[in-house]
């Protein structure tokens, strides 16, 4: 357990620090904003339950990602092809905070999400972790129990696959 994790305030600080990142992680795996919010919340409640049993967590961030990963793996995801509008509605980007967001940019992003869904689960995970969650290769390697070189190679291959989908 990290030094200083001695009360509920400390745990809720981890929500403040990583909550949104965990939400994003879940969102780009289940492609449903409401479900992603539930999964994010469940990630934290399950982690608290885990700690409650007296178990230790060395790296809270990595542990939260692992719990979120396992929860998402257990989700039944229907391989349905959404239209761009449906996809936009499902993911529900929230442009209300940003009046400058253009419809064109919004459509590009939704198209990217749609293409990402056509990649294999592993490829999607790696690209999301690297470019959406903005995790360093070394962090991804730690999360996935892989060596950094292997992660780099796999990310490069995933990028190639994504490029092919645009051709």
């Amino acid at each position: 357990m990290e030094q200083g994790y001695n009360d509920k305030n400390k745990f809720i600080e981890s929500y403040d620090a990583y909550g949104e990142a965990i939400f994003r992680y879940c969102l780009f795996r289940v492609f449903d904003r409401e479900r992603a919010k539930d999964l994010m919340q469940e990630t934290f409640t399950r982690t608290w339950e885990y700690l409650e049993k007296g178990k230790e967590v060395e790296n809270m961030r990595a542990f939260l990602y692992k719990v979120a990963h396992n929860l998402c793996v257990n989700e039944f995801i229907r391989p349905k092809a959404y239209s761009l509008d449906e996809m936009k509605e499902k993911i529900d980007f929230d442009p209300k905070d940003d009046k400058t967001v253009s419809l064109e940019r919004d459509a590009e992003v939704v198209l990217l999400v749609e293409k990402m869904r056509l990649l294999s689960k592993d490829e999607r995970d790696l690209l999301t972790m690297r470019y959406v969650d903005d995790l360093a290769v070394s962090e991804i390697a730690q999360l996935l129990d892989m060596i950094p070189n292997t992660v780099s190679v796999k990310i490069r291959r995933a990028e190639e696959s994504l490029k092919k989908l645009y051709k």
């Binding site: 001695n6 009360d7 509920k8 400390k10 745990f11 809720i12 929500y15 403040d16 909550g19 949104e20 939400f23 994003r24 969102l27 780009f28 919010k37 919340q41 934290f44 409640t45 399950r46 608290w48 885990y50 700690l51 409650e52 049993k53 007296g54 178990k55 542990f63 692992k66 719990v67 990963h69 396992n70 929860l71 793996v73 257990n74 993911i91 980007f93 929230d94 442009p95 905070d97 940003d98 967001v101 940019r105 919004d106 590009e108 992003v109 990217l112 999400v113 592993d122 470019y131 959406v132 969650d133 903005d134 996935l144 129990d145 892989m146 060596i147 292997t150 990028e159 994504l162 490029k163």
Partner: protein
């Protein structure tokens, strides 16, 4: 990655946000949940007036537990048979096994054996639906440490030029990883309600990939050796190892005491025979390459045969221990195909 993709991913990330209202709502929900549960941290504090900070030091606790364990064989024995969902499991994995590793000279061998043990335990609890998400997460973490530890020990053997032992440990590890991937698939056929093991299967595939990298380095080391007599000794050891493994499998499958039912049904026996026939074919090709003076190819083929034998042995063990039909064809042939492709022609 093209610049366009970077900006699109950035937009994607920025678009997937929680509003302040949503953040506050979930924060409140999590806090409410925590209020209903006792704090794990507060519970750990000792309220005894005899409390002295030093007793909470980790090394003191570990040392005390070791003393207790050595002085009470019962707990140690119970812990030895514990499974990932048992409270004694932590004692086994964090105390008794590290002590065992410490006391064993062939550390690569013992660490590979522990990887197999982890998988056997995991298969058992998964099949019986006795594992929850938290235990599974902890298990993956433990397994990752153990596979990493085995890789580290193999690399140490290579560095200390103990190539024979390094090859043996690498082959054993590959066999176990490959066999356990098959076992997990079979568990879900036997019990579709069993907890998902996708993450473990991904972990196994990555571990196979990493072990294959080490195997590649080992092959290079063996073939670049100036001392040809050492290379010949390694090949001779490989053949002896294979011959022992073949004999083991023969004994398991054929020795049935009078009056007992056979160990395997006819379908299992047919599967085993078919695998043995494939392995003998690989061995034959290895012998031919050796006669032609192609020691490099012969070495790779013998390695393949050794790994396939180990995999078959591990599958047979799992079939008997889990009581489900593990022997039989699956879609999991990537590893075997990959190995085959290295020695074509």
């Amino acid at each position: 990655m093209e610049k366009d993709f970077y900006s699109q991913f950035k937009n994607m990330s920025e678009g997937a946000r929680l509003s302040q209202k949503e953040k506050d709502f979930h924060r409140g929900e999590i806090l409410r949940f925590m209020e209903k549960q006792p704090s794990p941290y507060v519970d750990k504090k000792l309220s005894s007036p005899f409390y002295i900070g030093i007793f909470l030091k980790r090394h003191f606790i570990v040392a005390s537990l070791v003393i207790i364990l050595f002085s009470s064989g019962g707990i140690t024995i119970s812990a030895e048979s514990s499974l990932p969902n048992d409270y004694l499991y932590q004692i086994k994995t964090k105390i008794t096994e590290p002590v065992l590793v410490f006391l064993t000279s062939d550390k690569a061998k013992i660490k590979v054996a522990l990887v197999e043990r982890r998988f056997q335990e995991f298969s058992q609890v998964t099949l019986n639906e006795e594992i929850n998400l938290e235990d599974k997460t902890a298990f993956v973490s433990q397994l990752s440490l153990q596979v990493g530890g085995a890789h580290k020990e193999i690399k140490k053997l290579v560095q200390s030029k103990n190539t024979g032992k390094a090859i043996k440990a690498t082959n054993d590890l590959q066999s176990i990883l490959s066999a356990q991937n098959t076992v997990l698939e079979k568990i879900h056929i036997a019990n579709p309600e069993a907890e998902s093991t996708d993450d473990i299967e991904n972990f196994i595939e990555d571990s196979i990939e990493r072990t294959t990298e080490i195997e590649g380095d080992l092959t290079e080391t063996v073939n670049s050796k100036d001392d040809q007599s050492n290379s010949d000794e390694i090949t001779s050891d490989q053949k002896e190892e294979i011959s022992v493994s073949l004999e083991d499998i023969k004994n398991i499958t054929e020795s049935v005491p009078e009056g007992d039912t056979p160990n395997f049904d006819s379908e299992d026996q047919s599967y085993i025979n078919s695998k043995l026939s494939d392995i003998n074919e690989v061995l034959k090709r290895g012998d031919e390459k050796l006669l032609e003076g192609e020691k490099n190819d012969a070495f790779i083929l013998y390695n393949q045969a050794d790994q396939k034998l180990g995999e078959l042995k591990s599958l047979i063990d799992s079939d008997r221990e889990l009581g489900i039909d593990v022997l039989g064809e699956t879609n999991n042939t990537d590893f075997i195909n990959k190995s085959d492709s290295t020695t074509q022609n």
